[in-house]
Amino acid sequence: MALAEPKVTLDLARGLGLTADEYDRILRQLGREPTYTELGLFSALWSEHCAYKHSRVFLKRLPTAGPRVLQGPGENAGAIDIGDGWAVVFKMESHNHPSFIEPFQGAATGVGGILRDIFTMGARPIAILDSLRFGDPNDPKVRHLVAGVVSGISWYGNCFGCPTVGGEIAFAPEYAGNPLVNVMCVGLVRADRIFRARADGIGNPVFYVGNKTGRDGIHGATMASATFDDKAHEQRPTVQVGDPFTEKLLLEACLEAMATGAVVGIQDMGAAGLACCTSEMPARSGTGMEVELSSVPQREEGMTPYELLLSESQERMLLVAARGREGDVRRVFAKWELDAVKVGTVIRDSDLIVRHQGHEVARVPVDALADGPRYEKPTAEPAWLAERRAFDPLTLPPPEDLPIALVALMGSPTIASKDWAFRQYDQQVGINTLVLPGSDAAVLRVKGTRRALAVATDGNGRQVDIDPRRGAAMAVCEATRNVSCAGGEPVGLTDCLNFGSPERPEILWQFAETIEGIAEACRALEVPVVGGNVSFYNETSGQAVLPTPVVGVVGVLEDANRHATQWFKSPGHRIALLGPDDVSLGGSEYLWTRHGRVAGRLAPLDLGLERRVQRAVRAAISAGLVTAAHDCAEGGLAVTLAESCVTGPARIGAEVAVEAPGRIDLVLFGEGPSRVIVSVAPERARGFEAAMAEAAIPWRWIGVTGGERLVIRTGRAAVSVGLAEIDNAWRSGFERHMA
């Protein structure tokens, strides 16, 4: 077979994204020049996206162990024991670059990819959460991206049949040239039925299952490992198209095949496709694999070995079956009208041997591919940071028009209602959703048990920008606090770390600090990190996105009926504020919307206190002492109260008085960790007081629910706004841009 393949040279390697050093390393590891196909394998597997070249040394710092952990990082997703023989499997992934190039399909295939990560583990997906960041919604180009991304997520998730129950959408100009599309998926599996991406058992057959292979997304992984410039749109031919219907069939077929006992190991063909699976699976098992590419089901004619190995066609898996059980695999996939073709065998030698029509086109040690280079590149604190942090927001004049300031915050697109997006998502299929999108965390029951899961995602790029370490720790605190405010005990965490180019020392410093912050918080809160994703090179023409770690947390409620939502339930309930007084306007939503600045210092963070506050909230919820619980986040205390007034089925006002140190704008809009407001029915007030005394946290009564207004007094000042005005601003703040 004479394929006219390009001659392998250093230049060619460079063109594929490899450095001169990396090319040398390939020569050394092979002891010869690679073939063109082999070079393709290395370029994909050693891309930043697959090899975590720049991040691996830092990721080691994350705490990944815990008594409930069944699977930490290193597999398609993490798994946590939730009792009664069940495990929750979850992970978050980014699809930023593809979504910028083609928002609808990019976001859709992002959902497809994370769903596969969950069901390759043997788990049935039960929930999707989407965490999105865009530029200024006043820009029509941004609106086009928002509309495309949301409808792509909606199409894929709805058609597949997994509810989207939570997430966030935030806006900042830094994301204009590079939106962030992070999607988390949560699934359930019997704890003793978790499948792994392994190629065990010499002689076991290797099956290709799912959609046919086309030339989609070749070098997608490499693309995700490069920054955009003005030519971004020329990279278009790599766009992949999603097929949620086939994905649904693949889900059912995979779970059914797993139930037969014929499946030894399985991995989805995501980034770097077949190349990735055929090297990573045997590498994990200390085996090798031989594959015959001409057996691969193909959608297009004349595909080369290189293309077949690197294609990122969607809805495909590589499955290692038990020898002798081939018939079971074929039967199940035939029932679901999917291809299941034997393409190879697990072998003893730890090589990946690739043949095409019988001719060997690649022979590479699997470890050489799977253990890519690791770098410890220099980090440096950005020069501008000290100055930005030295800025004191209190040197700005206080607002004279407090009601207007509050209404403006409620209508800022980041804080405003995201109903426009969520109503496009099926939120209930599976009939497990006890708390729909719109509260601090979504709550899903676990059928067949008394338990429920609470899930939330969080991240605040502005806070991380001015203080990566504390900002990242605060993201962990906020996501876990959200889960606690629903009544769930946080049991596991996944993260998606969205940064600019790691080749810039300032960016890598932000990244390193972020990891430290996440690690500190997770250790203090005893929440293990069981999986995640790093997305570097989020920049366009040298402008990086805000450093944005997004954190996804899963919590367990022992009693599904004992959960809480964030909105006030009736008039006459007492309102309490739990947590410290320390807040700051540094990095706050107020400072940004009112003054257009991202500067100042973050409020102090006491992780021990954070933990006690969360525990106190959970205890109060499970004892039935509170009627609402809401975490104080963007917009500070005033916005938190306003949200509790208007985000529920009925509008209920509140009158509160807060005696706290500091200027009124600081008290109202200052942001800080470890703070929660709750409402308590009068007859439970004594019980609540007793519970708080035991919790050893600062707290106090601040007011009572009722009326048509939100009134907040502090010192001699007061702000009073009608709920209708608050509600209108909140409901239209985002949606008016999308109409």
């Binding site: 709805n158 058609c159 949620p244 069939l249 496009q424 029951r445």
Partner: protein, 237 residues
């Protein structure tokens, strides 16, 4: 009462209906695979929601021409009870078991939200436990739920009291604002002339337990349960 829940490639409310029938109503229920030509021993067939065959051509189009639908056609002709919800409604229309068709929502977006339905016709096995004008709360979740039928067919629907549910306000007023998808006359559900085949866009199975979305959907099942008579016929009232 024995239920059968039909499963097409791409169906996703099958498990939810199964759960409600077995865990909430405690009735026997089985899945019916789309290739089957014989429904077996069932009293009521449910066509659940989902995206059968991806709904890639038109919602319900491919499923509407599958072997199991032919079996359902015979079953319905003999008076068997058929409930199609969401994609099931779309399939029944595509199969010609119900008149009309479901078009893309007027807003051109998918809609998942709670809706109120006013009950127009209580003389069906599915609604015999309800009051005329009663308002039910049930969620919808679809991208193609705008009911469409031509004027003569609409006149027929009216004449035979085939319109069962209409989107309404919480007070039961049939208004434009209460119409989530632009459906003709706010139609949310219809029956065939004989009254034994019901198609509706809302999801009764998502409103069958107090903890998840209320219990108004259960009223339909409870109407059904009492409707069966020994000789195999059913009660309308």
């Amino acid at each position: 009462m024995k239920f059968g829940v039909v499963v097409f490639p791409g169906t996703w409310s099958d498990c939810d209906f199964h759960h409600v029938v077995s865990e909430v109503l405690h009735q026997p229920v089985k899945y019916v695979w789309h290739r089957e030509r014989d429904l077996g021993d069932v009293d009521c067939v449910i066509l659940p929601g989902g995206f059968s065959y991806g709904d890639y051509l038109r919602a319900g189009a491919v499923a509407g021409r599958s072997p199991v639908v032919e079996a359902i056609r015979d079953f319905a002709a003999k008076g068997g009870l058929v409930l199609g919800s969401c994609n099931g409604f779309q399939i029944l229309c595509e199969a010609g078991l119900l008149p009309g068709a479901l078009l893309r929502n007027e807003c051109l977006q998918y809609r998942c939200q709670s809706t109120h339905l006013v009950v127009d016709n209580v003389d069906t096995p599915f609604t015999r436990g309800l009051r005329p004008g009663q308002v039910l709360t049930m969620p919808i979740s679809h991208g193609e739920g705008k009911y469409q039928v031509d004027a003569p067919a609409l006149a027929q629907l009216r004449e035979h009291h085939q319109i069962v549910f209409r989107y309404a306000t919480a007070e039961g007023a049939v208004t434009r604002a209460a119409n989530p998808n632009g459906s003709l006359e706010n139609i949310a559900g219809i029956v065939n002339e004989a009254g034994n085949v019901l198609g509706m866009m809302p999801h009764p199975e998502r409103a069958a337990e107090a903890v998840v979305g209320g219990t108004d959907g259960l009223l339909l099942f409870q109407s059904l349960l009492g409707s069966l008579v020994e000789d195999g016929t059913f009660l309308k009232r």
